[in-house]
Amino acid sequence: MSNKVIYAIYNDDDILMDAVKKTRAAHHHIEEVFSPFPVHGLDKAMGLAPTRLAICAFLYGCVGISVATAMMNFIMIQDWPQDIGGKPSFSYIQNMPAFVPIMFEMTVFFAAHLMVVTFYMRSKLWPFKQAENPDVRTTDDHFLMEVSVNNNEEELVSFLNTTGAVEVKVIEKH
């Protein structure tokens, strides 16, 4: 099997969405879509599995609230009890209202930061990573759909030309 792919380039996100739907309806395999900005609903149109990032976020939040509880219990109750405003300094539960803002903030902090880290790892992004964009215009105002070729080059090119692509080119991939 050849390693040929076709790059179909579009200059409008609505046309791209229609093209993605048509291409999938015609049973061609879309390898990847490159876009300068997130296109709403593109993941569903491409048939990608729903993200599980939300589940991660919930679990990270649970970690955050646990860390905050343990931390405040150690700092304020066990290690160095302090009398602030006459509040009992020997019991976590009786002092709990004072710790709620910290528990809340740590929940958000953990959920947000770990979610970003997870997202970068899943997207295989890290500092100094080389860009994978096949065409620099996808970082500006063009959209690129990569479709795999299975001995149907001619047919595929003419098909993609009907989907409103401004440019269709066949590339030998390594």
């Binding site: 609903g41 919930f58 405003g85 006459g86 509040k87 209202p97 004072a98 709620v100 803002p101």
Partner: protein, 456 residues
């Protein structure tokens, strides 16, 4: 396409639901009447009630639920023996007033709750208009239907306020000149807290809200037959003006109708707190009425994305309510100033279950159920969560009003349940009657196509 369902544009109020709402009102009225008739008439009856409570096992069971109630009675019994008769009579009069307040307070809580839920819907609707929201126009007629309860709720509520002013009860102690004469703090506030000014404010607010509701619904209907967007623009303008009027009047309303029940206490975020409570209840009501209409085959253009968005608002504003609930609580708890902390001491000691129960129902339950994306689209989950949220916010209003009116004499009994049933019946009757009067789709709204195709 022969077997395609005929799309129903106009809602017909089913006779089943109509009968149900009338039964609710009838049962409610009977219960409310029973509550008023069985309230003690004088201190002799109170003496009998107190005596039976302290001697029978029944009384002890009740005391176990609230320790302080038990203590105050133990104290009251000591008084009987040690202190002179005048103090005993004072205590009896106090309990008499609380017991006489009970059916009034029950009526008042239910009445203000349904009135403010309607106001929550009206505010939400006005925000949609001003934001030129594209997703919600298919729900406008549902919101207008719900706010059709507003004139009814306003009239009944205003009558209750007037009756308070005519000393039919002792819910607002600052209305009693005898109390003001012996209370320096209340006397100092009497320039603001006096019956004429108070009732005029109430009249202005209620009329202002009703006027907006009337013209907004009228313009929305006129837009259906219009050739241009002029009525839509008119609605945009009056909605913006209404929101300014509303946020000021809402804050003052919360001081007048709820905060002044505890005239010695004050909280600067009380207006927001009350707003959060009825705003989330209003959105929940929109969601539940929409789900009901949808289950009957109406509102063909409302899809799961619209429901999902309403559910997100239910979730978000539940958290917002909790934020304000906790902000109010924590600052007062931390500062521990006697004038302020009494408010929460009363609630935690005498109203422990409803006080913390409201947090479970309005925060823990909705956040755990509605955090899941898929659940926000499942009707039965939303109806269950919505029921808990509405009940929880009724209890929230109960917690705001009861401690200052009936003290430790609270109980969710005949009066309370009957009052809720009556207003629920009236609400269903007026809302669904209004829904049947106009088409469910505002077809000429400039955003209606976007709304029909709204897809999350």
């Amino acid at each position: 396409m022969l077997n395609k369902l005929i799309v129903k544009d106009m809602y017909t109020f089913s006779s089943k639901l109509k009968t149900f709402s009338i039964i609710l009102m009838a049962v409610g009225l009977l219960g409310i009447g029973y509550g008023f008739l069985t309230a003690p008439k004088d201190i002799h009856e109170v003496e009998t009630i107190l005596a039976s409570e302290s001697h029978e096992g029944h009384g002890e069971v009740k005391h176990e639920t609230s320790e302080v109630a038990g203590e105050s009675h133990a104290a009251a019994e000591n008084h009987n023996e040690v202190k002179d008769a005048s103090e005993h009579n004072e205590h009896l009069t106090h309990v008499l007033h609380q017991l006489q307040n009970k059916p009034w307070a029950a009526l008042y809580v239910a009445c203000i709750f349904f009135l403010l839920v309607t106001m929550g819907v009206l505010a939400f609707y006005a925000i949609q208009q001003v934001a030129s929201a594209g997703w919600s126009p298919v729900l406008f007629r549902v919101m207008q239907g719900i706010t059709a309860y507003l004139p009814w709720g306003s009239v009944i509520f205003f009558v209750i306020l007037v009756l308070c002013g005519l000393h039919f009860n002792h819910m607002f102690i600052w209305l009693d000149p005898e109390v003001v004469a012996h209370d320096k703090l209340i006397a100092g506030k009497s320039g603001y807290l006096n019956f004429p000014f108070w009732i005029v404010r109430a009249g202005i607010f209620l009329i202002g809200w009703n006027v907006y509701r009337y013209y907004s619904a009228k313009n929305c209907l006129a837009q259906d037959e219009s050739k241009d967007d002029s009525f839509y623009k008119k609605n945009f303008n009056i909605s913006a003006m209404f929101l300014v009027f509303f946020i000021v009047s809402e804050s003052i309303m919360s001081w007048d109708w709820i905060l002044s029940i505890d005239p010695h206490w004050f909280s600067t975020l009380f207006g927001w707190y009350v707003f959060a409570s009825f705003f989330v209840s209003g959105i929940t009501t929109i969601c539940m009425v929409t789900l009901y209409l949808k289950s009957k085959g109406y509102l063909e253009h409302v899809n799961t994305s619209h429901i999902h968005d309403l559910a997100k608002f239910m979730f978000g504003f539940s958290v917002f309510w909790t934020y304000l609930w906790f902000s109010q609580f924590m600052l007062i708890w931390y500062a521990n100033i006697p004038e302020e902390i009494t408010y929460f001491i009363t609630r935690i000691q005498l109203y422990n279950l409803p006080f913390f129960g409201a947090v479970v129902m309005n925060f823990l339950f909705p956040i755990l159920i509605l955090i899941n994306t898929d659940f926000k689209r499942i009707s039965w989950v939303l109806v269950m969560a919505g029921t808990v949220i509405l009940a929880g916010h009724y209890i929230d209003f109960f917690n705001m009003i009861m401690p200052g009116t009936v003290g430790d004499r609270w109980f969710i009994g005949v009066s309370e349940i009957a009052s809720v049933l009556f207003f629920l019946g009236l609400f269903i009757y007026t809302v669904f009657t209004a829904l049947s009067k106009s088409p469910l789709l505002p077809k000429r709204n400039p955003f209606i196509e976007e709304s029909k195709h709204f897809h999350y």
